[in-house]
Symmetry: C2
Subunit: 254 residues, 2 copies
């Protein structure tokens, strides 16, 4: 009584989809009229809507077949599973919306929130974008390699910035990037940094995070390979090493 396009339109599918369901054996082939056209009755409408309902719910056509011919109690079980699956997919889509918003807003979606908080703190303190981006890249790699630890570690580093002297030195270090390597102020920075480090770690065990990094050569290589380099910073490292050696000697003498 209905033509294929009427059937398809009522069910909200394409004509091709109906033919596809015939081919797959999901929907029985109806009688033909004198022109060879398929003619459908009410049962076909019901069958097609049942197929579409399951297909829309994400059931593969191969499974739709067995589901609709199975007994109703098994169908009811499956419907429960499908409903849970749909609920899960709705949550997923909500998450995708959040990520899209982040994509539009900026670059925060590539890192766990603790790392984002740490980077925000750097910005707040006045660290340059150049250094922040360099750190961000290092954190991304760390997050990819040690996703379980990177959160706590970032928090630890962020808390370190509550110390005003630490903040002052980090800023000085940042600013020194462009300096001439012979700048006399570099020696003072190196000395102050070393003094601070020694004070901070005096009598303290290194944290788990410290140990983890120290022990993982790959991670160290990973960070240093991406670290920014400049003549002034290379000089700073040399000065710090020299100062370290001097302090060691003093310690030996006393």
């Amino acid at each position: 009584v209905l033509t294929i396009s009427q059937l398809a339109a009522y069910a909200g599918v394409t004509v091709r989809a109906v033919r596809h369901y015939h081919q797959r054996g999901l929907l029985p082939e109806p009688e033909r009229d004198s022109s060879g056209y398929r003619r459908y009755d009410a049962q076909a409408v019901i069958d097609l809507l049942r197929i579409k309902t399951l297909a829309d719910a994400g059931v593969p056509l191969a499974r739709v077949d067995s589901l609709l011919s199975a007994d109703p109690s098994r169908l009811a079980d499956t419907v429960e599973e499908l409903d849970a699956e749909l609920a899960r997919r709705i949550k997923e889509l909500r998450d995708h919306r959040k990520r899209l918003a982040q994509l539009a807003a900026g670059e925060r979606l590539y890192l766990p929130e603790q790392v984002v908080a740490y980077l925000d703190r750097l910005r707040e303190i006045g660290i340059s974008d150049r250094l922040i981006e360099s750190e961000r890249d290092a954190w991304i790699l760390l997050a990819a390699r040690m996703p379980e630890h990177v959160g706590t570690w970032a928090t630890e580093k962020r808390v370190g910035f509550d110390d005003p002297e630490f903040r002052r030195l980090y800023l000085a270090y940042d600013v020194a990037y462009d300096w001439d390597p012979d700048d006399p102020r570099l020696a003072q920075i190196a000395a102050d940094a070393l003094t601070l480090m020694l004070a901070l770690y005096a009598g303290k065990e290194p944290t788990d995070a410290d140990m983890m990094i120290m022990n993982d050569r790959e991670v160290l290589a990973l960070i240093s390979s991406h670290a920014l380099k400049s003549p002034a910073w290379t000089r700073l490292e040399e000065l710090a090493s020299a100062e370290m050696a001097r302090l060691s000697e003093l310690a030996d003498q006393s």
Copy 2:
């Protein structure tokens, strides 16, 4: 620095997907190490996450390519569209959950709510499942052919059942299905039905729905082809026709 599986795992995609993005030119091919393995840096993580975010939002890969290389303002516009699209799909999934529940609960999902209300009314009155199912099939076909009109029409028919005499006759008609065609009670039912119809339509214009059905031969054929048939019902029609003729004659004489 990262291997392909580390990169893939962090982004939540398969290794094959990453290779696929390389092949499509979405993600630049990175450097190889001495074994010919791909080695990825932080930028690759960012790039891949951007690709995944858009792909998850339903953007075809061909479009992802142009979107990520386009300027950020166009990206922002598109993100808005994508977000609306995602919101639409969430609604759709919610709808699918409703339809699934209907599929598990019963058979109500194939018809507009007014028709369901009409069929519920039939059940409430005590009409047999046999007749209700026959009517349901006819309504499904009508809904497929005249989706715009079937709602109001069903409501009209449902309101008709507020008349107690109409209800009594509809029930009698239902019960008579199995009777012997020579049963003497059939004549009374036919006469009462005709009297009621004449009373109902006396001085009243036929409704739009009536006209529409009367004028659409295809719809009439469609309904009658699916109508139940029994010897008693055929007899009822004959009796009604004869009574109609007798009344016409009386009218002519007066």
